[in-house]
């Protein structure tokens, strides 16, 4: 059994059967009073962030979570299949579970999969991925300013706003945290 002295950024605990990760925490102690740990914690199933105050010394239940690096293999119906690069074990996640992350999956992409009691609950793609433009209005030669943008569809179906000089067939670097265009990749 853990207690509040184990709380640090990233500490994972179980509250009413739901795993939460500590985002931020602060020890507080009023002048002559009881000490508390004020925390901001993230529901690892829904991503919702809440504030929660614990009495200093309060017992906590550690969440049985594990993060594993896995390689994306192929789609299968409404799901995507991944393989643990160490054990070769395969698991599949539904498109619904993957959410926006389906747009960052190319054959062989390595992602971090969070498992809770052995079941996958979340995916962290690489921070940057490179994707090819499959559809966009033709570019204007010589226009290298990025103040004006236009929509583009990428090979995974992701839609992003890109500068006017980008053409179909270009490879783009995308920031997966913001789903935003970063730059055009040469080659």
């Amino acid at each position: 059994m853990a207690d509040t002295s184990d709380i640090k950024k990233g500490f994972k605990m179980l509250i009413d059967g739901v795993p939460y990760a500590v985002v931020d925490h602060q020890f507080v102690k009023p002048g002559k009073g009881q000490a508390f740990i004020r925390t901001r914690i993230k529901n690892m199933m829904t991503g919702a962030v809440i504030d929660r105050t614990f009495k200093s010394g309060e017992k906590l239940e550690k969440a049985d979570t594990e993060e594993r690096t896995m390689q994306y293999l192929y789609p299968e119906g409404d799901s995507r299949v991944f393989m643990d690069t160490q054990s070769y074990e395969q698991i599949s996640l539904t498109n619904e579970q993957l959410g926006e992350n389906v747009y960052y999956l190319l054959d062989g992409t390595e992602v971090d999969i969070m498992l809770f009691e052995g079941r996958p609950i979340g995916v962290t793609p690489p921070t940057f991925v490179e994707l090819v433009v499959t559809e966009t209005e033709p570019g204007f030669k010589g226009d290298t300013s990025s103040n004006t943008t236009k929509p583009a569809t990428l090979e995974t179906g992701l839609q992003v706003n890109v500068p006017l000089f980008v053409n179909t067939g270009d490879k783009l670097k995308i920031d997966t945290r913001t789903a935003a265009y970063v730059e055009r990749v040469k080659g």
Binding site: Q26, F27, V28, P30, K32, G33, F36, R38, D51, T53
Partner: protein, 295 residues
């Protein structure tokens, strides 16, 4: 690092000059004491000799010894010293921190609040804090009841200490002193600690807050030795019940009260927190040359 050293040196110099101008004597009291304070919510470091026998504890504040000096005839005293608290670590807490503690004999808690406002302004000016103008006296005052009325989402029963402090911590304190410092007075009698009681039954205790951070804790000092012993015995009983170490009662301190300590006001102010606030830093560690995590 050099910047932190200069900041602290300037602040200490301003504190010393402030008190010298008012005829205070700078005093020194021991770090190792026979009783570190019986407050149920304070935890002290035990000191042992090489054979493992308990020598004493590191002082959580220099209060008992400074009050013995008052009883011995010293009238206006201050001390800049380290105080030690086990199991306190966070952005506003360190196991070892610098405390400024001062006492005025034949004075009230109001006199000491008056000192506090001027001292903090002086330090702010000395270190060139951008907030110096905001800190000019007089600071706002409010009672604990008023603080709850203004900032809490629900009424509070002070007898339910856990809820009292939970709401205090989550809702009230973060809202205190947002623009300018505020002094919160008239604490529940159960939290009187070493303060005397007002005629209305509340404790003659005050705390000042700036931007949601507690800066100091002061008292109109309790001088009744019998009442102080009752409170210590109650604290010991609570400690025993909670399975906490039960520190001995400091009999020398009680003897000093019984011998006749003058009516006095006193205050304890955290220098590291003050410097954090005055420089806009986000933690006390960033204004300390050697926070515990860097040792």
């Amino acid at each position: 690092m050099i910047e932190v050293l200069r900041l602290r040196a300037k602040a200490m110099e301003a504190v010393r000059r402030f008190f010298a101008e008012r005829d205070f004597i700078e005093v020194e009291t021991p770090a190792i004491v026979p009783c570190p304070g019986l407050d149920v919510h304070l935890s002290a470091f035990e000191v042992r000799d090489p054979r493992g026998a308990t020598v004493g504890w590191l002082a959580t504040s220099p209060e008992y010894q400074m009050k013995r000096l008052l009883s011995a005839g010293a009238e206006c005293i201050f001390q800049l010293c380290r105080s030690y608290r086990a199991e306190e670590q966070g952005r506003h807490h360190e196991r070892e921190f610098t405390m400024l503690e001062w006492y005025r004999a034949h004075a009230t808690s109001d006199d000491v609040i008056h000192d506090t406002e001027r001292l903090v302004t002086r330090v702010a000016e000395a270190i060139g804090s951008p907030d110096a103008a905001l800190l000019a006296p007089p600071w706002d005052r409010m009672t604990v009841d008023e603080a709850f009325d203004r900032h809490a989402s629900q009424p509070i029963d002070p007898a339910d200490e856990e809820t009292f402090f939970r709401i205090w911590t989550e809702e009230v304190q973060p809202a205190l002193g947002a623009e300018r410092p505020v002094v919160v007075t008239q604490w529940p009698a159960s939290m009187a600690s070493l303060a005397k009681l007002h005629p209305n039954g509340t404790a003659d205790r005050f705390e000042a807050f700036f931007r949601g951070v507690e800066l100091c804790n002061g008292f109109g000092e309790l001088t009744d030795a019998a009442e102080q012993r009752r409170r210590f015995e109650r604290d010991q009983a609570q400690r025993r019940e909670a399975g906490l170490p039960v520190y001995p009662i400091d009999e020398r301190f009680l003897e000093a009260l019984a011998a006749g300590m003058p009516e006095s006001g006193g205050n304890a102010l955290g220098i590291d927190r003050l410097l954090m606030l005055l420089t806009g830093a986000s933690s006390i560690q960033s204004v300390m040359p050697f926070p515990a995590e860097d040792l």
